[in-house]
């Protein structure tokens, strides 16, 4: 997982980098010396984990967290114990008092990986598979449609066209958001515009530029972009 170290003291960062060398699961994506630097790096690098000092010149570690849209896992690192309550309030994973010992850091990393495991288990459980049914409403008409019968999702502006039987109702959602909810073993993101139901695939032909042309049962044809074609081959090959 990608981690960002935020501390105004270079030597403190260096020490933590050294200690983290023992933990192969962590890749240090960057180091920031203050909240402003950190905010920029978080937006660019999208780290999974922050090691965050609290007292820094300019904005504090807490103020940094307040300004983030999505907050990664946070492990506070500070020389003071007086912020522990507040750290608890912002649901930090752990609170390391400097000087940080290797044993204590290992404990913190345990918490991080536990949390990570729980999260991935939860998201897997929540994903929608072929056996699930979804509610679709378009204008006056409603359907409670089984995902198994939906062969194709096509994005159209801010809407998604849902193809099943002879219906094509529109739902107000982004294809990216939908993609995240669907089980990747049943549905495949063919391109920027399309998600296909793999159980509806009838035939596949090589297409231009290393892409693929997928024909679905019922006659719909969907082009798979080159990038996604490579991923498709990767996922579906023996």
């Amino acid at each position: 997982m990608k981690a960002l170290i935020i501390d105004d003291e270079r030597l403190a960062r260096k020490e933590l980098v050294k200690l983290l060398g023992e933990h192969s699961s962590v890749e240090i994506a960057g180091e920031a010396a203050n909240a402003d630097e950190a905010e920029q790096m978080i937006n660019e690098l999208n780290p999974d984990l922050l090691f965050l000092d609290i007292q820094m010149p300019g904005r504090s570690g807490f103020q940094l967290l307040e300004s983030l849209d999505s907050v990664p896992y946070v492990v506070f690192t500070t020389a003071y114990d007086e912020f522990a309550m507040k750290a608890f309030e912002v649901s930090a994973l752990d609170y390391l008092l400097k000087p940080i010992t290797p044993e204590r850091l290992a404990e913190a990393m345990h918490k991080v990986s536990d949390k990570e495991r729980m999260k991935s288990a939860r998201t897997r459980d929540k994903k929608l598979g072929l056996e699930d049914q979804v509610f679709v409403k378009d204008g006056d008409r409603c359907w409670f449609v089984s995902l198994a019968s939906i062969r194709l999702f096509e994005s159209d502006g801010n809407y998604i066209k849902v193809y099943f039987d002879t219906n094509r109702p529109m739902i107000h959602k982004s294809l990216n958001a939908l993609d995240e909810k669907l089980d990747e073993r049943a549905f495949f993101r063919a391109s920027r515009k399309h998600i296909i139901n793999l159980s509806w695939v009838e035939s596949i032909e090589p297409w231009f530029n290393g892409g693929l042309m997928v024909k679905l049962k019922g006659g719909d044809k969907v082009e798979v972009s080159r990038r996604q074609a490579a991923k498709f081959k990767d996922m579906m090959s023996l």
């Binding site: 105004d8 003291e9 270079r10 030597l11 010396a33 203050n34 007292q55 010149p57 300019g58």
Partner: protein
């Protein structure tokens, strides 16, 4: 540290020794802050034999670091100037930053300074003084005036 314990009993130390402690202290902070901390000393020789409450100057310098330098992204300067004027020892500590006058008096804020004032008064009475003020745009001046103790 042994140094500290011995002098604790006396309560007073020569200004020369106190300056040595301050320099040691700033040496440590320089390791911590690296290029963010610059220090300048301008200490007149005739100040050496004045007796000062031990660790008082160190405490004031530490204040300058804690409230001044450590709050500044780019860091700053600590200047210590000491000289004799009107037969009294005048110590001026300047640090980059802003002195917030009683900004928010919560937690232990201001307690250290209050203690220092008490200590001065107990030892020297009204002949001593301590003041802190903003100087120029971005400097804080801490000035301590200490009389000759032996003459009394």
């Amino acid at each position: 540290m042994r140094n500290t314990l011995v002098s604790e009993r006396k309560g007073l130390t020569t200004f020369q020794d106190e300056i040595r402690v301050v320099k040691d202290y700033l040496g440590l902070e320089s390791i911590r802050f690296e290029e963010r901390l610059k220090t300048e000393f301008d200490v007149a020789a005739e100040t050496n034999e004045f007796e000062v409450p031990s660790l008082m100057i160190q405490t004031l310098v530490e204040n300058g670091i804690k409230h001044g330098i450590s709050k500044l992204t780019e860091g700053g300067v600590i200047q210590l100037k000491a000289f004799v004027a009107d037969d009294k020892l005048k110590i001026q500590i300047r640090n980059s930053g802003h002195f917030v006058i009683n900004g928010t008096r919560k937690k232990a804020g201001g307690l250290g300074l209050e203690n220092t004032r008490h200590r001065l008064k107990l030892i020297y009475g009204d002949e001593s003084s301590l003041r802190i003020l903003n100087e120029k745009d971005n400097f804080v001046l801490t000035e301590v005036i200490i009389p000759h103790l032996h003459k009394k």
